[in-house]
C-alpha cells in the first residue's frame, strides 16, 4: 500500500511488440530441461551410493529362502525378524555388546576429560612447546595402527594386559585422544577470549572463567567430539581383534566376524547383525554431522 505515486514513466515506447509473456516462457523452458537433467543425475548418484546400505537392511529382513535365491528379491516382502533373532541369539552377542559399551564409555569419558584440559592449554595459552605439541598431534596420523599393534602387543604382554578390556581401553587412546584434542581446541578457538576476560574483570579466577564461561559455550563441541570418539571406538576392529581372544571379552565388531566359518556364511543373520552393529553409530553420526564444522579436516576418521 504505497502512497508514493510514480512520475509518469520515461516514454520508452516498446519498439517491437514481442509480448513479455513469450519472453518469459522461453526463458523457463531451457532452464527447466537442464534442471531436470541435473536432478536426475543426482537421483542416479543417490541410488548408487545408498544401495549397499539399503541392500544390507533389506537382506536383514528377508526370509532365508529369498536370500539364497539366484534371482535377487529387491524388496523384503514378506519381511521377517528371524534373522535378527538368529543373530541376537548367537553366542556372546549381548556380552559383546556390553563389552563394546564398557570400552566405549570409558574411552569417551577419559579421553574427553583429558582432551578438554589439553585443548584449554592449546587454545588459551601461549607457551614454549605449543607448536611442537600441535605438530605432535597432527603427526600421530602418520603412524599406522596396524604397525603400532606390534610393539603394543609386546608391551601389553609384558604387563599382562592382553585379553583385557583395560588394555583395549588404553590402546584406544592412541587415536581417540589426539583427534579429540585437536577438535576441541578448534571449537574453543571459536569462542572469543574476551568473554573470559570480562568474567575475570568481574571477579572470577582464570579457571573459574574456564568452567563457568567457556565450558557452557563449547558444550555443543564437547557433545560432538564425544560422539565422534564414540563412533571411532565403537567401529574399531583390528586392536579388538588382536588383543581380545575370548569370545566373552570381544567387542561387537569382532563378533561380526564370527559369522563366517568353514560352512560358509549365514548372510541373513550376518546382515541383521551388521545392521545392529551399525545402528548406534548411524544414529549418532546423523545427529552430529551438522555440528562439526568441516574445517576440521584434521581428524574426521573414516572407519
Amino acid at each position: 500500500m504505497s502512497s508514493v505515486a510514480p512520475i509518469a514513466p520515461v516514454p520508452v515506447a516498446p519498439t517491437t511488440a514481442r509480448p513479455a509473456a513469450v519472453a518469459r516462457r522461453r526463458l523457463r523452458r531451457g532452464h527447466v530441461a537442464r534442471r531436470v537433467g541435473i536432478n536426475l543425475l543426482g537421483l542416479a548418484v543417490f541410488t548408487v551410493m545408498i544401495f549397499p546400505v539399503y541392500w544390507m537392511v533389506a537382506t536383514a529382513f528377508k526370509p532365508g529362502r529369498n536370500i539364497q535365491d539366484y534371482k535377487p528379491h529387491w524388496f523384503p516382502a514378506p519381511a521377517t525378524l528371524s534373522n535378527f533373532t538368529n543373530a541376537v541369539h548367537r553366542p556372546y552377542f549381548w556380552t559383546d555388546v556390553k563389552n563394546s559399551l564398557i570400552i566405549v564409555s570409558f574411552v569417551v569419558v577419559l579421553s574427553l576429560t583429558v582432551a578438554f584440559l589439553a585443548a584449554l592449554a592449546l587454545s588459551r595459552f601461549r607457551f614454549y612447546g605449543r607448536t611442537a605439541f600441535i605438530f605432535l598431534i597432527l603427526g600421530t596420523l602418520m603412524v599406522p595402527l596396524a604397525a603400532l599393534i606390534i610393539p603394543l602387543y609386546i608391551t601389553l604382554s609384558r604387563v599382562h594386559l592382553i585379553n583385557t578390556l583395560t588394555g583395549v581401553i588404553a590402546m584406544y587412546m592412541t587415536f581417540v585422544l589426539p583427534f579429540s584434542v585437536w577438535t576441541l581446541q578448534g571449537f574453543m578457538r571459536g569462542v572469543p577470549r574476551e568473554l573470559e576476560e570480562a568474567a575475570m574483570v568481574d571477579g572470577s579466577t582464570r579457571f573459574g572463567a574456564f568452567v563457568r564461561i567457556l565450558l557452557p559455550l563449547v558444550a555443543p563441541g564437547l557433545v560432538a567430539t564425544s560422539i565422534f570418539a564414540f563412533i571411532q571406538a565403537w567401529n574399531e576392529f583390528i586392536i579388538a581383534y588382536v588383543f581380545l581372544h575370548d569370545g566373552s571379552k570381544q567387542t561387537i565388531t569382532v563378533w561380526l566376524a564370527s559369522f563366517t566359518n568353514l560352512h560358509g556364511t549365514d548372510w541373513g543373520p550376518l546382515m541383521a547383525g551388521a545392521t545392529l552393529t551399525a545402528l548406534p553409530v548411524v544414529v549418532f553420526f546423523v545427529l552430529i554431522q551438522r555440528r562439526i564444522a568441516f574445517g576440521l579436516t584434521a581428524g574426521a576418521v573414516r572407519g
Binding site: 599406522p144 604397525a147 578457538r189 576392529f237 550376518l270
Partner: protein
C-alpha cells in the same frame, strides 16, 4: 589489546613479574597439557620408539616369552630389502594407494559439484545418503560388499550379467587378486567419497559468488570458471584431502583382512598386512617392525605436506 602506558615507576612493574600468581599462570598450560601428553607418550610415543628398536632386533616366539630381543642391527632391513616379495608388496601398496586416492578425489569432487547444482530436495536426499554411507562402520561395509559380490547369490553378479557385461554367475571375485582388489577398491572409495564430497562442497560454498559472476561476465564458460577461479581457490582443501587420503589409504588393513576372511593370500599383501602377518602369523616381530618402519617413513612425505598445508591455511596457529 592496546595497553596504556603505565605511569607507575619501572621498579614496581619489575617486582610484580615475579609474584606467585604469575608463576602459577606460566605453569598452568603445562599442567593442563600433562595428562594428555603423558597418555600420548605412553600409548603412542613409547610404542613408536619400541617399534623402531624392534626393527633392529630379532624377536621371535622365544624372545616373546623371554620379553627380550636380540640385537641384529640392520639385519632385518637387509633381509626385507633383498626379498623380492617385499618389493612386490611395496609396489602393490603404492599402486593401490594411487588408484584409490585418485578415484576418491575425482569422484568426490564431481559429486560435490553435482550437489552444488541440485535442487533443494535432491540435495538433501543426496547429502543424507552420503552421511549414511560415511557413518557405516568399515566392518559392516566390508561385509555388505562381500555379500553383494557373493559367489552364488551376490546381487552385483546378477545385475552385471543382466546388463550383459559378461557372465558373472558363480564368479569368484577373489580368485584373481586384480578383481579382488577391484572389489576392495570399490568398498574403500565408496566409503571415502562422502568425506571428500561434503568437504569440497563446503569449500565450494565459500567461493565468493562475486568472483564467479565476475568471471562469467568476463566471458568464461562453466569449465573455464571452474578451472580458473574455483579450482585455485580450492587448492588448499584439495591438498589437505589428498594428503589425508594418501595417509589413510596407504595404511589400509581392515578392508583387505575382513574381505578375505582373515586369510589373505600373498597376492593380496599390502604393507600393513605384510607387517602384520610377519609378526603375528610367522612370529617374526622384528621383521614385521622393520616393514612397519619403512611404511611410516614412506608416509612421512605426505604427512609433512599435510601439516605444512594446515599451517598455511591458518588452521594451525
Amino acid at each position: 589489546m592496546a595497553v596504556a602506558e603505565s605511569e607507575f615507576p619501572l621498579v614496581s612493574r619489575r617486582r610484580r613479574r615475579l609474584s606467585g600468581r604469575r608463576v602459577a599462570s606460566a605453569l598452568a598450560p603445562y599442567a593442563l597439557l600433562a595428562p594428555a601428553a603423558a597418555i600420548i607418550g605412553a600409548v603412542l610415543g613409547y610404542p613408536l620408539y619400541l617399534l623402531v628398536r624392534l626393527s633392529f632386533e630379532k624377536y621371535g616366539l622365544f624372545e616373546l616369552v623371554r620379553h627380550h630381543g636380540t640385537w641384529v642391527g640392520l639385519g632385518n632391513y637387509r633381509k626385507i630389502f633383498h626379498d623380492s616379495q617385499f618389493w612386490h608388496v611395496v609396489l602393490r601398496t603404492v599402486v593401490f594407494t594411487a588408484v584409490n586416492v585418485t578415484l576418491t578425489m575425482v569422484l568426490g569432487t564431481a559429486i560435490a559439484l553435482l550437489i552444488a547444482r541440485l535442487g533443494r530436495f535432491m540435495r538433501l536426499l543426496l547429502t543424507t545418503a552420503l552421511v549414511l554411507v560415511w557413518a557405516t562402520p568399515v566392518v559392516v561395509a566390508v561385509n555388505i560388499w562381500r555379500w553383494m559380490v557373493d559367489y552364488e547369490f551376490g546381487v552385483a553378479n546378477w545385475t552385471l550379467t543382466k546388463l550383459h557385461f559378461g557372465n558373472f554367475v558363480h564368479h569368484d571375485w577373489f580368485a584373481s587378486s586384480l578383481s579382488g582388489f577391484g572389489v576392495i577398491t570399490a568398498v574403500i572409495v565408496w566409503g571415502a567419497i562422502p568425506f571428500v564430497a561434503i568437504t569440497v562442497y563446503a569449500g565450494l560454498s565459500q567461493v565468493p559468488q562475486e568472483l564467479i559472476e565476475a568471471a562469467q561476465i568476463d566471458g568464461a564458460r562453466a569449465w573455464n570458471v571452474f578451472r580458473e577461479v574455483t579450482l585455485p581457490l580450492l587448492k588448499p582443501i584439495f591438498i589437505i584431502l589428498a594428503s589425508l587420503s594418501i595417509i589413510w589409504d596407504f595404511q589400509v588393513f581392515n578392508q583387505v583382512w575382513i574381505m578375505l576372511g582373515e586369510r589373505p593370500s600373498p597376492d593380496y599383501y599390502l604393507m600393513s598386512i605384510y607387517a602384520f602377518v610377519e609378526s603375528f602369523r610367522i612370529n617374526e616381530y622384528g621383521l614385521g617392525s622393520a616393514i612397519a618402519v619403512v611404511m611410516v617413513a614412506m608416509m612421512m612425505v605426505a604427512t609433512l605436506v599435510y601439516i605444512r598445508q594446515m599451517v598455511k591455511t591458518g588452521e594451525v596457529r
